[in-house]
């Protein structure tokens, strides 16, 4: 965190000064470890085993937060009789189809009371999907099929011995870790987990987070101050770009993008979202208001509010799938607005080959990044695989204005929007992305003006009337935020999403952002100093939803509405006023008393019982067991990374059976793993990561002298033991090889990369920053040349945090010899197009 969120880390340092214990779990000893009280080095890719071990510890030692768990989680819910766990099926859950390598979640459902309606667990919207709102429960938690008992059986095998074997974490260290976490999780104290991509970039990434969620839920650390699982986000506003998504399968506010065939009218989409219980019950109002914001007066009840203007999904259109389609020739044009896949995306070579197959490519960026110059002097030009004159792609480069050159918001890790003002006008031809999007739309609409073609209506009906200002005709970013914040029929700004109507009388560009312009004030632009307000600091910026700083904060009070402890009081039920109140904005219907039992026909927020603290969940509870919503199982289970020198010690299948693999293209070969023949050719585990001194694929740092001089060259970090084994010298050169590529890097020999004892033998790890490419002031090989495309099935994120590799001393071969070296390794390891797909 100190490495990648140094400014946010100041609060960790402040907490430490206030007596907090800081633990850092990371294969490497980093800047964070340097100031942590305890550093726990582990093998990259093994965290589910570690977290499973802590969960097992908490369950067997009975140190979980009993009252919290009984009241606010699904621990007491009963599962169906036909559910089978990985324990029963050696690593598989019931519902697995080997043909498609996908799960059918039917059997993961709760056991239903006879009269309850049939839920549809298959729709995977962001709403967490449908489950039974009032399933059968056993408050005593003794029933063999209640979630808690299933949990106990599932995690029983994650013993300290297994943790030691899989993760390489010694038992005394593990015991210390458990002690710290447990001792800081009770009525008076809370534990927070911070994670970022060290936990997500795995073929089981989503299940890492599930494991942490289960642990935090058991310990009663969700919805309480100082608790939670904090996803430390990436680019300064990456949170904003998921709320108002750059993701192909979502509409603003985590509404699903309609699927061709499935969602042929507004009703069917809303149906898929409107949960029996909680805020999602009002899904129709959210969708209708969104359509009104986009198509204004053209959107009427008669035409389903222009629902048919929305595009439909016909399948997977994620970035890695798109690269495949470029190679297949089905994707012919590409916009890169602030992305440098030639360096930043897994298997960078495939990325470049994909772009080389396009008709046209538009790159809008601050600098002439590798994704704009690969055709001129990329690695394939050097190796002779591509010749500039043979490349048909027409590449357009448009200089972009940086965040200091435009107005707008950043939405940070805390879901908080902060407004930033233009510090200086962009120079030369540089323009903001808002300018580009607006004027591109304007010009296209002008060209289509008067068209009678139905296909042009979605564009022509758009409300495209943002005020322009300044010499560059810059659209008003505030006007856009206003639309996002929403207004009612009279045009008055909305106060919150509770004001949204499903009759077309309100317009709102993103329902969770409703209220960001409440009272006509840009709430994101508030900067009242902390010492002038309460410790929650509600008047600094604005957090969604409804300026709430801690989600599910109803759980900070006990079932009767009293804070678990004075020390940790956040919101509570005020007996006099008969309403919820507190330091933060209560995350609960204000008038619903703690003991409330909803009537049988109640729906939406009014269907929430007094102790349904998890208001966005279909059953109002925190999920220790996920009856639906995940593609690879209702509970986390440890699987080895796609390429791993280690045999899976926990289950039969070596790798996540439901992972997404790209039918192995010649440039995307997988490696033998564990005890498969040839795995010894790649004996080390490489992990890739960031340095404070650089930013991601380098466009914002490798062109700046003040940052480049701080880390001037690509390097690798190795332990003295590995250096000795491979004859590497500090400040010398090393070549790192996988089945995809060979790259070179300067060598940093350091005790900060410990060699671990895993499965009884010494395992060396290799640290690889991934910031470099061949352009800019500071250059070097890209770590992503080494990476393969094997993805988490839930979010399609690449597995770049754990890769088996080999390391040799000296620089890599040049020209064609570079690929020859890789093919040589493939031959030695006996690799072909079926390798790495065995357990599929």
């Amino acid at each position: 965190m100190a490495e990648c969120h140094p400014v946010g880390f100041q609060w960790v340092m402040e907490a430490k000064a206030g007596g907090a214990t800081v633990v850092h779990v990371d294969p490497r000893f980093t800047r964070t470890s340097a100031v942590a009280d305890l550093h726990v080095p582990l093998r990259a890719g093994s965290d589910i085993a570690l977290l499973g071990g802590i969960i097992n510890h908490v369950l067997t030692e009975e140190t979980w937060f009993h009252d919290y768990v009984v009241a606010y989680t699904n621990a007491s819910f009963l599962l169906r009789e036909d559910f089978r766990d990985t324990e029963d099926l050696d690593g598989l859950f019931s519902g697995f189809d080997p043909e498609t390598a996908t799960y059918d979640p039917d059997t993961w459902q709760y056991e239903r009371d006879g009269d309850a309606e049939e839920p549809d667990p298959h729709s995977l919207g962001a709403s967490g999907a449908h489950v039974d709102a009032r399933p059968r429960r056993d408050e005593t938690l003794q029933h063999p099929r209640c979630v808690l008992q299933v949990l106990k059986r599932h995690f029983a095998r994650y013993t300290p011995a297994l943790v030691e074997e899989v993760c390489g974490v010694p038992r005394d260290t593990f015991a210390e870790l458990c002690r710290v976490v447990v001792e800081n999780s009770e009525r008076e104290r809370t534990t927070a987990f911070c994670y970022a991509v060290g936990w997500t970039q795995h073929t089981v990434g989503a299940q890492y987070i599930r494991a942490a969620a289960i642990l935090q839920t058991l310990l009663g650390n969700i919805g309480r101050p100082g608790g939670g699982i904090l996803a430390l986000r990436g680019h300064a506003s990456i949170q904003g770009s998921t709320d108002i998504p750059t993701l192909y399968n979502l509409l603003p506010g985590y509404l699903p993008m309609p699927r061709a065939g499935e969602h042929d009218d507004l009703g069917s989409l809303v149906e898929a979202q409107a949960l029996a219980k909680g805020h999602w019950g009002d899904a129709r109002a959210y969708v209708v208001s969104l359509l009104k914001a986009w198509w204004g007066d053209a959107a009427t009840p008669d035409n389903d509010f222009c629902f048919d203007h929305l595009p439909r999904l016909t399948g997977d259109h994620s970035t890695y799938q798109t690269v495949q389609e470029q190679l297949d020739g089905t994707c012919r044009g590409y916009f890169l607005l602030g992305e440098n896949p030639a360096v930043g995306s897994a298997n960078a070579k495939l990325q470049r080959l994909g772009m080389a197959a396009l008709d046209w490519l538009v790159v809008r960026d601050l600098a002439l990044i590798e994704s704009a110059t690969w055709w001129r002097d990329g690695p394939e030009i050097e190796s002779g695989e591509l010749r500039t004159e043979d490349i048909g792609t027409e590449v357009f480069f448009l200089p972009a204005a940086a965040h200091l050159e435009k107005d707008g918001t950043f939405t940070n890790t805390q879901r908080m929007l902060q407004w930033h003002h233009t510090a200086q006008e962009p120079e030369g031809d540089a323009r903001s992305d808002l300018w580009f999007a607006y004027h591109l739309g304007r010009i296209i609409r002008d060209k289509l003006a008067g068209s009678t073609d139905e296909a042009d209506r979605p564009l022509l009906d758009l409300t495209w009337d943002y005020p322009l200002h300044g010499p560059l005709d810059e659209p008003s970013a505030e006007a856009v935020l206003r639309e996002i914040g929403g207004w009612d029929a009279s045009g008055a700004p909305l106060a919150s999403s509770l004001d949204l109507a499903d009759d077309g009388s309100t317009a709102c560009g993103c329902w969770i952002y409703a209220g960001v312009f409440a009272d006509g004030v840009n709430q994101a632009d508030r900067r009242r100093p902390g010492h002038e307000q309460s410790w929650v600091a509600p008047e600094w910026g604005w957090a969604w939803p409804a300026n709430r700083r801690i989600l599910y904060n109803r759980a900070s009070a006990d079932p009767d509405g009293r804070p678990w402890s004075e020390r940790k009081a956040l919101v509570w039920w005020d007996e006099e006023l008969q309403r919820w109140t507190g330091h933060d904005v209560p995350d609960f219907p204000l008038g619903t008393p703690p003991g409330h039992e909803p009537g049988p026909d109640a729906r939406g927020p009014s269907a929430l019982a007094g102790d349904d603290a998890f208001t966005m969940q279909a059953d109002g509870k925190a999920w220790l067991f996920a009856p639906t919503g995940l593609a690879d199982g209702p509970l986390p289970a440890h699987f080895e990374p796609q390429d791993s020198p280690v045999r899976n010690a926990v289950h039969g299948p070596q790798r996540n059976p439901a992972r997404v693999v790209r039918a192995s293209a010649p440039d995307n070969r997988y490696q033998p793993s564990g005890d498969e023949a040839g795995s010894e050719v790649f004996p080390y585990v490489a992990t890739t990561y960031r340095l404070t001194e650089h930013h991601t694929a380098g466009g914002m740092s490798r062109w700046l002298p003040y940052l480049s001089e701080l880390q001037p060259e690509m390097f690798c970090e190795v332990s003295p033991a590995l250096a000795a084994e491979r004859g590497l010298e500090n400040a010398g050169w090393a070549t790192i090889v996988t089945a995809r590529a060979a790259i070179e890097a300067r060598v940093l020999v350091t005790d900060r990369i410990p060699s671990l004892t895993v499965a009884g033998r010494t395992l060396h790890q290799v640290g690889l920053p991934y910031h470099w490419g061949d352009q800019g002031l500071s250059t070097g090989d890209a770590a992503n040349e080494l990476a393969h495309l094997s993805l988490d099935p839930n979010v399609h994120i690449q597995e770049v945090k754990a890769l088996a590799c080999d390391v040799v001393a000296g620089r890599r071969p040049r020209g064609a010899a570079r690929n020859e070296l890789v093919r040589e390794y493939q031959r030695r390891a006996g690799i072909d197009e079926t390798t790495g797909l065995e357990d599929r």
Partner: protein
Amino acid sequence: MAPYLSELPVGWLQPDGTPRRMGFFTDTSVCIGCKACEVACKQWNGVPDDGFTFTGYSYDNTVGLGADTWRHVAFIEQTAPAGDVRWLMSSDVCKHCTEAACLDVCPTGSLFRTDLGTVVVQEDICNGCGYCIPACPFGVIDQRTGDGRAWKCTLCHDRTSSGLEPACAQACPTDSIQFGPLDELRERAAARVDALHERGVGDARLYGASPDDGVGGAGAFFLLLDDPEVYGLPPDPVVTTRRLGAMWRRAAAAGAAMAAVVAVAFVGGG
């Protein structure tokens, strides 16, 4: 009283309206090595880059203070016999000495002491004689190649003289760099050392905080977790001009001796 004094925050002034001595307390025990200070310094002061060379010295590729690096973050990796690792990080800077050798030896008056008690080079007066460079007991000030003049931290004279915090201190996320009236900083630092000792961090010690040290106390002092030399700092620096009187006396004596020898040489013929 200089006109700009009116712009200074009251906290920077003494009861009589004259400025207090301002300086730095750098608490390396909370430094996370983010180098924001190093970058902010260059950005604000327009200092050129210091070259692009990979050193293999942990995460330090700018090596030390010089004409083109006025804030420098040192990285020291240590491993105990038991295998425990610790990673020391420390942001070094000009000490703005009470008895500043650089200032004493400067023949042009280019180096001067500001109303805030800081030591600053005037680039329009410096003639590049280079004398200040070997005179500094901390190896701070240095000559810029191509330009010939001497450069170092100005304690952001332009900012501080109008009441602004120095760029490096403002950029520091963890308050490892604290800017303020020197006397207050010294009290705060002493308390911090006690607190750390109570928490079992026995290695914590102050460096440059004592007015009785060889330079009369540093205007920028540090809390270190190991011996100064481990961070590239001299353990017991003494301002070179402390012995200047004695030196001149020796020189006079030697000169006299020379004259005497010449006189003697004329005794006798040839």
